[in-house]
Symmetry: C2
Subunit: 403 residues, 2 copies
Amino acid sequence: MLIVKKFGGTSVGNPDRIMKIAARCIEDYSRGDDVVVVLSAMDQTTDELIDLAHKVNEKPPKRELDMLLATGEQVSAAMMAMAMDRLGVRAVSLNAFQVPMHTTSRYGSARLKRIDTDRIMHELEDRKIVIVTGFQGVNKYDDFTTLGRGGSDTTAVALAASLHADACEIYTDVDGVYTADPRICPKARKLPEITYDEMLDLSTLGAGVLHNRSVEMAKKYEVRLIVRSSLNRSEGTIVEERVNVEKMLISGVALDKSADRISVIGLRDEPGVAFKLFDVLAKANINIDVILQSIGRDGLKDISFTVSDDDADDAMQLLQDSQTRLHYRDLSINKEVAKLSIVGAGMMSNPGVAAKMFEALYNEDININMISTSEIRVTVLISERDGERAVNAVHDAFGLGEE
Amino acid sequence: MLIVKKFGGTSVGNPDRIMKIAARCIEDYSRGDDVVVVLSAMDQTTDELIDLAHKVNEKPPKRELDMLLATGEQVSAAMMAMAMDRLGVRAVSLNAFQVPMHTTSRYGSARLKRIDTDRIMHELEDRKIVIVTGFQGVNKYDDFTTLGRGGSDTTAVALAASLHADACEIYTDVDGVYTADPRICPKARKLPEITYDEMLDLSTLGAGVLHNRSVEMAKKYEVRLIVRSSLNRSEGTIVEERVNVEKMLISGVALDKSADRISVIGLRDEPGVAFKLFDVLAKANINIDVILQSIGRDGLKDISFTVSDDDADDAMQLLQDSQTRLHYRDLSINKEVAKLSIVGAGMMSNPGVAAKMFEALYNEDININMISTSEIRVTVLISERDGERAVNAVHDAFGLGEE
């Protein structure tokens, strides 16, 4: 078996933790498996490096920022190799140049293009544990790039795909994917398995275990992903193409409090209005989400949509600046909203899932603002203060807490 | 003009200093010169990384230690490029892979083999300041190596040679090479120029401004070296093949307190004894220095020699372990000795230089233990407590303090 194991910054946050992770990786290696370890920078390192950069330049050139940040994973990778050597196992650390991991040119948010696996295969044949720096790559100019958010997960999945690994284990501080956030839903249960699509919807909805890019790539190359804890021996959750969907109608309930609702009031009810509105935001790279358009009346209509907290101020500013061009009467924002979603491949063949969700919310006297659905997801916008009550009500209604 | 400028760890020790160095490099650049900057890791960084490594492995594999240490210069190089960008000048940082700097395979003490200058030349043609990581290289396995002590100086000189630079400026915390250590000899005077060979002898004798490897390389490739201060605008000292030797008989007086004298008493007075003795030490990579052998009497002789403080304990241990094989009667060590040297290309054609030195010491009632000479150097071993007095006496005798 060839296994790729990815550990985040917390897992390698100090020398003690590095020793623990080293010991854990060696267990699989000693059973005869080939082991490739992908590491993030040690906890805090990336933030500290960014702070350091800002001391000489508040807007550092991205090429140089990536050059600086790339040192973070190189430190943790070398440390891990030393820890394994101490435990008597031969290991070798490789940075993006040494693999090499080819990416697009775009500094700060490069995409992986191609991984040369020769050196890794050679080191594995030599019975070494291979430790690869996550998050970083090399572009066609022979410069370091970084992959942006969720970069190390992406590195791990891409390596697993290129090496035709039997599994890609993503170690986190939770022990798998849950039917709901256990911090707000006491009955939440760990899922033994979940489909790529469900995982994608859950990631988007802020369940936060895996970054979407890595799940998309895993789906595309059919990499068997396993989400598990670096702190305990729990089995984790397997993300695969096909799981036993008949067992469960839906897989989980997700709550995203980071959504804000922006309402544009009194737009002209004529063709092209929605296009113009969203084009302004799209050009500024602002993702909009649930959209609701009122039925036109007196030649006017309203459009509401959600954006993430991070983008809300920018979006409001852009819309204010465009008032003359967009011809609207009024603009408002509501930050006290939350998105509640149910996700499940099983709902495709089961009508009435949405109705059941709405009923559960009605029984709790929770008002629904907006609704959006996909094949395997139903999302409603509710008031933020109702969020936790809503999660539990829906979780109960679908019997997610039961084995 | 193409100028290579090398700055040590202290010069780039914090963001403020990096900004200052950046501004200074930009001055030359703005005059139209092509500028290549070689940097060490920020002050303390290398030590901190070694400490970190020791927390997981007291004897870290050298390959991984070099992988870890190589991040130090990458951080300072990226920071410098950001600082220059802030000051409105285009700069690009390059690590050993990006240059690339090819070295021998030996981790921790690699030797530079070849530098590809294509990328650097290309960036210079593009009117960028090129910042290169000192101290590190890449070996034939595509692994990071480090060059050991004085590594960044060596990187700078090798780059200057490969790029056919007009000068290689080594910035330090002193403003040049002095006729004696100004801390112990108040009349010491900065030398405007000095030959490679004189500089080599001074380096060996602990004057400590430049590492010998870099001076040897500068001599071999006729690189015009300039030692100057990163703190002030002083002219510095030029190290070249030929200087106006007639002006001065000797260039400087050096005192090395780190020498210890080991005496091996009662060796058999027969061929091969000295060979056997020094072979034991050579095999352990211990450098021995001034050697004195007594005239044999009663079939026995004594051999004394100096070693550096660092090697003294190892040398004593080795000799004790070899007593049966070497057949000596007694072994002693004196740590209270110092080496006093005068260095000067001018003494080659001037007999009586050594006599003048001995006279100066005699006048001060300073006893000479051992004597060793080369073409451009006279070294005597004296008591450590006489050291500073001896330096001043000899400095005066040769009139070194006078213009």
